[in-house]
C-alpha cells in the first residue's frame, strides 16, 4: 500500500518547484508524488488556481505594493479582433490590472529588432521593442530567427541572437545578465572615468575594460566566452578570479566549476553528431536512447511556434556564436535513420551568414518522405536544399547553428543514428 503524501512535504516541494529550485532528485520525487497520489494532484491544481486568483487581488494591507504591471499588446490585439460587446466582455475579464507603462527610460537603444522580440521593465511591464529602453529592462528574442541589437551611448553594441534573454542593470545599464542564449558584444574603448561593461551568467562574470569584441553563450549549465579582439577578465559570479581571456581564445566554465581554455575555433566545414557522448548541453527537443544497434535520437511531441501546431521533432542545441558547421554549395548532408512507417518529413538546417553580427538567417530544407524498411541513408547536397520558402537570401557559405528533424503531426517512430555534414573528399 502506498503511504499518503505528507501535505507539508508536498507544499515544501511545490513552493520550490514554483521557483525552479528543485534538484533532479527532488523533481523526480515531486513527479512521483503527483503520479501516484490523486489528492496531491488536487492540491497541485488548487495551488495553480490560487496563484492566478492571487494575481487578481487588489492592492492593500500593511505593506503597500505596486499594482501588477501587465503586458497589453496581445489584449489590444484581441480587442481589435473582436470589437464591440465581446471586447467589453474580454476587457471585463482582465479588469483590475494596470497596463500603463511609465518606467524611466535609459540612454540604451534597442535597434533592428527582428522576429519576436519583447522588452519588459524590471517589474514585468511591456515596452515597445524599438528605441530607448527602460532602466533595468529585460530583452528577450523569441525563436531561432529573431534578434535585436542594444546600442549604448558610447557606440558600443550588443547583438542578442535568437532564443536569448538578457537583463540590464547597474550604472548606465552596463551590467548585462545573460539568462540564456548568445550575445555578441562590440565594446569600444572607454574614456577616462567611464563605467566598464560587464556580462553576467550563473557561472561567470566577464568584465571588459578596453575595446573588445566577444561572444558570450549561456546554456543550461555552461558559459562560453570567446574573445575575438581585446581582452576580458573572467571571475565567478561572486568575484573570485577565474582567468583572463585574450584575443583568439575561448574560455568555457561549467556549473560544476570545470573550466577550460583553448584557441577560438573557426566554424568547421565538417560536422558529425557524436551519439557516443551525451547530447550537447542545451539540446532542445528529442531524446537519446541506446538500442542494440547503438545510440539513436528520437523525436518528442512539442508545439512548434513556426507551424503553430504540435509536431514530432528533434531540435538541436543553438550555437549561434560559434556555428556548428560552415555549409558550402557542395556540402553533403548525410542522415542514417529508420522509421516504423513511411511518411512525410523534413530536415532543416537553420543558418546565418559568416558574420555572426548580421541578423539575416535562412533555412536549408530537405522535404521528402522518410521511408520504412530498416536503416536508410539520406544524402543530399546543400545546394539542393534551397527550394523552400525560408531559404537563405544570402549566398553560401551558410553557417548552420541549429538543425531540426520534423515528421509533422505523425509519429513515424523516427530514429536518427547518424547525422553528419562533409565536403566532397573531406569526410569525417
Amino acid at each position: 500500500m502506498i503511504p499518503p503524501t505528507s501535505e507539508s512535504r508536498f507544499d515544501e516541494l511545490y513552493l520550490r518547484y514554483w521557483e525552479n529550485g528543485l534538484s533532479d532528485a527532488e523533481t523526480a520525487e515531486f513527479a512521483g508524488i503527483l503520479e501516484r497520489d490523486p489528492l496531491a494532484r488536487d492540491w497541485f491544481r488548487a495551488n495553480g488556481l490560487l496563484a492566478v486568483t492571487a494575481a487578481d487581488l487588489p492592492a492593500g494591507g500593511p505593506v503597500p505594493q505596486p499594482l501588477p504591471e501587465k503586458r497589453g499588446w496581445s489584449r489590444r490585439r484581441i480587442l481589435q479582433y473582436l470589437g464591440g460587446g465581446l471586447a467589453a466582455g474580454i476587457a471585463a475579464g482582465f479588469a483590475g490590472r494596470n497596463y500603463l507603462t511609465g518606467s524611466k527610460l535609459s540612454p540604451v537603444q534597442l535597434r533592428a529588432a527582428k522576429g519576436g522580440v519583447t522588452v519588459t521593465t524590471a517589474s514585468g511591464r511591456p515596452h515597445p521593442p524599438e528605441g530607448p529602453i527602460p532602466d533595468d529592462a529585460t530583452v528577450i528574442t523569441h525563436g531561432t530567427n529573431s534578434s535585436a541589437v542594444l546600442v549604448f551611448p558610447n557606440g558600443s553594441d550588443v547583438l542578442l541572437a535568437g532564443d536569448s534573454s538578457v537583463a540590464l542593470s547597474g550604472d548606465n545599464n552596463r551590467r548585462l545578465k545573460l539568462m540564456r542564449g548568445s550575445a555578441i558584444a562590440d565594446v569600444l574603448p572607454l574614456k577616462f572615468g567611464e563605467r566598464a561593461f560587464s556580462f553576467l551568467t550563473t557561472e561567470a562574470l566577464v568584465s571588459a575594460v578596453g575595446g573588445v569584441r566577444l561572444t558570450l553563450t549561456h546554456t543550461a549549465r555552461t558559459t562560453e566566452v570567446g574573445v575575438h579582439t581585446g581582452e576580458v577578465a573572467v571571475t565567478d559570479p561572486s568575484g573570485g578570479p577565474l582567468d583572463s581571456v585574450r584575443s583568439g581564445e575561448l574560455f568555457v566554465v561549467s556549473a560544476d566549476g570545470r573550466q577550460s581554455k583553448q584557441p577560438l575555433p573557426g566554424t568547421p566545414e565538417n560536422y558529425a553528431l557524436d551519439l557516443k557522448k551525451s547530447l550537447p548541453d542545451g539540446w532542445f527537443v528529442g531524446t537519446k536512447q541506446t538500442q542494440l544497434s547503438g545510440p539513436v535520437v528520437r523525436p518528442e511531441l512539442w508545439f512548434d511556434p513556426y507551424h503553430q501546431a504540435e509536431m514530432y521533432q528533434i531540435r538541436s542545441h543553438n550555437r549561434w556564436a560559434e556555428g556548428l558547421v560552415r555549409l558550402l554549395d557542395d556540402s553533403i548532408i548525410t542522415v542514417k535513420y529508420r522509421v516504423r512507417s513511411s511518411g512525410k518529413g523534413q530536415v532543416c538546417l537553420v543558418s546565418r551568414t559568416e558574420s555572426m553580427k548580421e541578423a539575416a538567417t535562412g533555412v536549408l530544407e530537405w522535404n521528402g518522405t522518410y521511408r520504412a524498411g530498416g536503416w536508410q541513408t539520406l544524402s543530399v547536397r546543400a545546394a539542393d536544399m534551397l527550394e523552400c520558402r525560408e531559404a537563405p537570401k544570402f549566398r553560401s557559405p551558410w553557417v548552420m547553428f541549429l538543425f531540426i528533424f520534423n515528421t509533422y503531426g505523425s509519429d513515424l517512430g523516427l530514429e536518427v543514428a547518424d547525422f553528419r555534414v562533409s565536403r566532397p573528399g573531406g569526410g569525417i
Partner: protein, 177 residues
Amino acid sequence: MTLEPDTVVQVLLRERLRVTATAAAVVRDVHAADDIFQAVVLSALEHCDHFQEPEHVLAWSLRAARHRAVDLARRRQLRTLPENVLDLLEAKWDDPAGELWTDRAEALHRCMDKLTGPAKNLLMLRYTEGMAANAIAGKLHRSADAIYQNLSRIHRALRACVEREMTRLPGPRGVTV
C-alpha cells in the same frame, strides 16, 4: 455545424481561470500564463471552424495552453514535469463540469477575502510580483524559511477553506496566517 466566434469567446471567458491556471502551473508565472491565455483566445478565434461543441473548445484550449506553457518553460530553461504527469493533471483540468470550477473559483475568492492583510500581501509578492521566497525575505526583513513556512500555511489554509466552502461544512470565520 461549427461554433460562432461569439460562442468560442464566451466559453473561453468562462474558462479563463482554468486555462490560465493550467499554463501557470507549468510556466510558474501568472503574467506569462495570462499572455498564453490571450494567445490561445486569438488562436481559437482563428480556428473557429474546427469547433463543433463548447467542450471541444475547452479541451483544445487547455491542450494549446499547456503546450505553449511547456515551450515557454523550455525557453526559460525551467525544469518541467514529465508528460505523463501533465497528462494526469490535465485529465481533471479537462473535466467539462465547468460549474464545479466556477464554484471553486468563487469559493477561493471568498476564502481570500478572509485572509489577513500580511497574508494577502505575501501572496501578492509571490504571485503578482513573481518574487522568490529569498527576495520576499529580503524585502520583509525575515528569513527565507519563515517565508516558506508562511506561504505553506496560507496554501494549506486556503485549500482547506475552499473544501469547507464546497462541502458547506461549518468552519472558522476567518483564515489567519
